[in-house]
Amino acid sequence: MDGSLAGELDAGRLAGAVGATGLAERRIPWMSALITPELLRRLEQIQLLAARRSKSSTKGERRSRARGLSVEFADHRNYVSGDDLRYLDWNLFGRLDRLFLKLYEEERELPVRIFLDASESMNFGEPTKFKFARQIAAAVGYVALCGFDRVAVNVFPAAPARITTGAVTADRIPQAAVEGSLRSIRGKKSAMTFFQNLSSLTPGGVADFNGSLKRGALEARQAGVAIVLSDFLDPAGYEPGLASLIGRGFQVNAVQILAPEELNPTTFGDLRLVDSETGGLEEVTFGKYRLPAYQRMVASFVQRLRDYASGRGIRFFSVSSSTDLGELLLKQLRAQEVWG
């Protein structure tokens, strides 16, 4: 997004822009690259499904254990002096001649935390793994915002690490500020800003997967739904990070995104492979006849991850970055009851 266009957008217009697809395509062309208006429209009909009641202290639209003001009757209690007379149950008073106060369920928000891997390794594939992950993040975030839930995006590695590896933001917005603005977003009207900030992220640097997830788990005031978008190719593994989210009480959804060439390498011969993040070298002589063995190994790696996830109640998806986004969002995630 260029600066002049960003200047034109204000909060009031954003809601209109999101609602009016034709306008969005015409006036905000970068948005259709992130997520198509058609898909946005369909996402508006979806709501994130939370397995547990919200523990957030902020009012929202999710059922919670707290008692408060809503239309959902919960219970009665004896009147004590000072209670709001508006909530007295006059019908009971008429029959029993005693004063009871009607209690209603308090509706709270659902904190949705998106962990977005923006390391250099995500900058591969066609489209790149990072772009695909960003699209998923945008979709999940949009669904949450439409449901009046709070969205926080944890981008890792953090901006300084990405910038030192040479990444430069296209629109000159400091990455750190963008990351800061992604920490807490609420309300459908913030969707455009959310999209804008996501679009301005660029991948780079070395990710500390486990450290990032641990930090994210610790800094969350309330547990909620966690979406982890990564390739899970961290030499240190993925178990401690996911375990910290589970331990914090998050309902974790993990999406592994791999580039097509990681699933089916197309380069053969005597190769010296350079790790894009660590710079580590591997020498390999690779031919088509070894492709099945490689594919078996990748399948085994993914299966281990899947087994780990299913053992801990994590919903797990492994997709190629070339997968159709609509297919993933509207079928796979729905089938797995991430949302409904």
């Binding site: 591969f124 793994k129 060439e261 790790d275 894009s276 993040e277 580590g280 006849y289 190994m297």
Partner: protein, 623 residues
């Protein structure tokens, strides 16, 4: 393929090429030029390579199939260049008949320690390689030892220890080679068994085996022996000295098979006392040598060739010589001056008596001549019968024949030596059928005219026509024939022949009085006793494997006989590459078969296969 399993190499120098093996490894350790590719993460590749590559240099080679293939290819090439072969030339036959030549020539020391032991070592290898076990893979071996006679040392068995024991007990003899019996047994045993073969371990010093020329005998000839460096005595005889009847003439023949002139000496000993030593030069032909010596009593003449060669057995020979006695001849005749004169001249000492008829009484005679007389009493001794009708001798009956024409005569018989019947005409003769006890010497188309043979223990020469009714007495062949006949019929000369046997041949001696045992003192000096059936009329002794003088005592009679090699074929110790079977059949020595059992082709083929698979592997890896 060979059951024996020591592999040897014809070109072991090719193993130097094996130094190229480390070079291949070094090439693999060198870094290859690789295409650099940046990948998102090498994590997946690390996991992938964990099974195929290790980081340490030599561990990296561990799972490198291409390198292993190249090393294997190089190894196979080196092995092929080294030309491997198996020394045991046996086949996969289920039955292996092994014939070990135990004749005198196998004593040659051109192999270490000698040919016989070398052959035994070869057989031991065959035994070692014998496949034993259940089922069709089981192999059996039959072991025979062939000298003058053949002996099955071990019947067909797969028990290696029994075969080894039988082999160890085999001893070499001084006898000539007679393989016919052994081959016949082998043929008999292998005929029924389709998977069988005969292994002959010999030096090939074997007379022609014409009998087996047309037979399909699966024979593998394992040749032993490397050279021919031998000179030996091939014949020995003692006769009266024609120039000096008081002395004895010792005739010997020497053969030189060394291929070079030999200058040496030859000794003559009488009863182990040196009589004469003669210097002589032996060329490559047979050299005759004659000694003349006086003989005071019966004794043993021994000749000794003083020449160190590969075979010692034929450098010495001996002969038992009895003092010559006058031949006592009784001529029963109505008068025949030609015959009388011929008989008188027949031997150096003749005591000729004449009589008109033969009666029971009278002194014992060495031989009786019946000249156209049918005697009242038939003589018990040897007989020269001229125109005598003795129907016992000719059970087929006798007839008469007018003017028979002589068409053939057997001049190889000792009786017809130096005689010819070309110009002999006969007026009339008896006609007979050749009896089983004799052979026809002179034939007309209708009937034999002269027959000789042994009837019981009686030697008989029968002439069917009256000599005076023929032109024969006028011919020179007549006195020669009479002289030959006297010599042949003289019991002394017959005995003298008896007292000479070839080593390994049986010694036969008529038993004149009933005896129960014979005491024998062989050349080794260890005397032993042989039981004899009291009813037996002949003593037969076969244990003459070692040459020398054998003393035999039968009851009160004592005598000696000599066993000698005296075989030109055995003295020719040149190892033969082929054994002739008749005119066409030949069996090549297994040294040639050994070449056929080289395995370099198989290694080369395997190498080619490895090379192709390496090519395929490489292209699969990098395609």
């Amino acid at each position: 393929m060979a059951p024996v399993s020591v592999m040897n190499f014809l070109s072991p120098v090719a193993f130097w090429f094996g130094l190229a093996l480390p070079a291949v490894v070094v090439f693999y350790l060198l870094k290859r030029k690789r295409v650099v590719r940046v990948v998102p993460s090498t994590l997946l590749w690390q996991k992938f390579l964990a099974e195929t590559q290790a980081s340490a240099p030599f561990q990296r080679l561990r799972h490198n199939g291409l390198l292993l293939l190249q090393l294997l290819l190089l190894l196979l090439a080196v092995l092929a260049l080294a030309r491997p072969y198996f020394s045991g030339m046996a086949g996969e036959a289920a039955l292996q008949v092994v014939i070990l030549d135990a004749s005198a020539s196998m004593q040659c020391v051109d192999e270490s320690p000698n040919r016989f032991e070398k052959a035994k070592a070869g057989i031991r290898q065959l035994i070692d390689g014998l496949k034993t076990g259940q089922g069709p893979k089981n192999q059996q071996m039959l072991l025979m030892v062939a000298g003058a006679s053949s002996e099955v040392r071990q019947s067909a068995t797969s028990e290696k220890s029994a075969l080894r024991r039988a082999l160890d007990s085999a001893r070499v003899t001084d006898s000539p080679t007679r393989l016919t019996d052994a081959l016949r047994v082998a043929e008999e045993r292998t005929r029924a068994n389709t998977s069988s073969e005969v292994h002959l371990f010999s030096d090939g010093a074997i007379p022609n085996l014409d009998e087996f020329g047309s037979r399909d005998l699966k024979l593998i000839f394992h040749r032993v022996g490397q050279r021919s460096n031998n000179a030996g005595i091939v014949s020995l005889d003692v006769k009266s000295n024609p120039d000096d009847p008081s002395r004895r003439a010792i005739f010997a023949s020497l053969a030189n098979h060394s291929g070079a002139l030999i200058s040496t000496t030859m000794d003559l000993l009488f009863d182990d006392r040196l009589v004469e030593s003669k210097p002589l030069t032996l060329d490559t032909n047979v050299t005759p040598i004659v000694f003349s010596a006086s003989q005071p009593q019966d004794g043993v003449f021994r000749v000794r060739l003083n020449h160190a060669d590969d075979l010692a057995a034929d450098n010495e020979a001996c002969v038992v010589s009895l003092l010559p006695k006058p031949v006592r001849i009784l001529l029963v005749s109505r008068g025949n001056r030609f015959l009388e004169k011929a008989l008188n001249a027949a031997a150096s000492a003749v005591e000729l008596s004449t009589a008109a008829d033969l009666t029971g009484s009278g002194p014992a005679m060495d031989l009786t001549v019946l000249d156209d007389v049918t005697p009242s009493v038939w003589p018990a001794g040897n007989v020269l019968a001229i125109h005598v009708a003795q129907t016992n001798w000719f059970p087929g009956g006798m007839g008469r024949l007018e003017a028979p024409t002589i068409v053939d005569w057997r001049n190889t018989h000792p009786l017809l030596r130096f005689t010819t019947f070309e110009n002999v005409q006969v007026a009339e003769s008896f006609s007979i059928k050749t009896p089983t006890w004799g052979v026809s010497l002179v034939d007309s188309p209708q009937s034999p005219l002269i027959v000789a043979g042994e009837y019981g223990r009686q030697r008989i020469v029968w002439i069917g026509f009256e000599t005076l009714n023929s032109t024969w007495p006028l011919r020179i062949s007549f006195p020669i024939f009479i002289a030959n006949a006297v010599d042949w019929l003289n019991p002394a000369s017959a005995r003298a022949e008896q007292f000479k046997v070839h080593a390994g041949d049986a010694f036969h001696l008529p038993i004149l009085e009933p005896v129960t045992h014979a005491r024998i003192r062989p050349p080794s000096g260890v005397e032993f006793t042989v039981p004899i059936d009291p009813k037996a009329r002949e003593f037969v002794f076969g244990g003459t494997g070692k040459q020398g003088i054998y003393q035999v005592t039968l009851g009160t009679n004592g005598m000696a006989f000599a066993a000698n090699l005296l075989d030109a074929d055995e003295s020719n110790t040149r190892p033969r590459d082929q054994i002739a079977f008749g005119r066409r059949g030949e069996i090549a020595a297994s040294t040639l078969q050994r070449a056929n059992l080289e395995y370099w082709r198989w290694f080369a083929i395997a190498g080619l296969g490895v090379m192709l698979s390496e090519w395929w592997w490489y292209h699969r890896r990098t395609a």
